[in-house]
């Protein structure tokens, strides 16, 4: 069975066809935090043309929707960075 980070990666690749994608397990950083026991803390950085013209809220909703069933089941917290390729190049 793939680990949670790999499942997040697979879901985002399938739904958002990212040009760049990183999924980082931040669990270790939150050791001792009460929520850390309930599941992992992950940070995703998604660069996708699907985000073009969309607000931050709309982009984050797309990421949450893609990760969907994993939220609350292996994923306690998801930090999101959602960029278009153009924005990524001008950072």
């Amino acid at each position: 069975m793939p680990d949670t980070a790999e499942r997040i990666r697979a879901a985002l690749e399938r739904e958002l066809v990212p040009a760049q994608l990183s999924v980082e397990d931040e669990g270790a950083r939150h050791a001792g935090h009460p929520g850390a026991r309930a599941g992992g803390h992950f940070r995703v950085r998604v660069v996708s043309e699907r985000f073009r013209g969309l607000t931050r809220v709309a982009r984050h909703r797309m990421v949450y929707a893609a990760v969907g069933p994993l939220l609350g089941h292996g994923v306690h917290a998801l930090a999101i960075e959602a960029l278009t390729e153009e924005e990524e190049m001008t950072l």
Partner: protein, 107 residues
């Protein structure tokens, strides 16, 4: 009052409302703490709602806003975003501008 009315009442009680885990002085989650810090750094007046105090609202607000996590920051009843968006907007100055336009920052 049913839960949707409670959500609407909270959202209309202040121009800036933060639904968070814990309270501003005793946040129960690092992300909620960071959202509070961003609002305070802007000098904003805001109302906070501890979602642990109302489990029914905690679940209902996720559906109402189509946003599955906390904290959730609202300005004039509109979802601005969670911790990541609040921090990004804090860093680039958009948050303070938005809060000032909402009348939440003393001149």
């Amino acid at each position: 009052m049913d839960v949707t009315d409670r959500i609407k009442a909270q959202l209309s009680s202040s121009p800036v409302v933060l639904f968070m885990k814990g309270t501003p002085d005793f946040p129960q989650c690092g992300f909620s703490a960071q959202a509070v810090a961003a609002l305070r750094a802007c000098g904003a007046q805001f109302k906070s709602v501890d979602i642990f105090e109302d489990p029914e609202l905690r679940e209902a607000l996720k559906r109402y806003s189509n946003w599955p996590t906390y904290p959730q920051l609202y300005v004039n009843g509109e979802l601005v975003g969670g911790c990541d968006i609040a921090l990004e907007m804090f860093r680039n100055g958009e948050l303070k501008k938005l809060l000032a336009e909402a009348g939440a920052v003393a001149a």
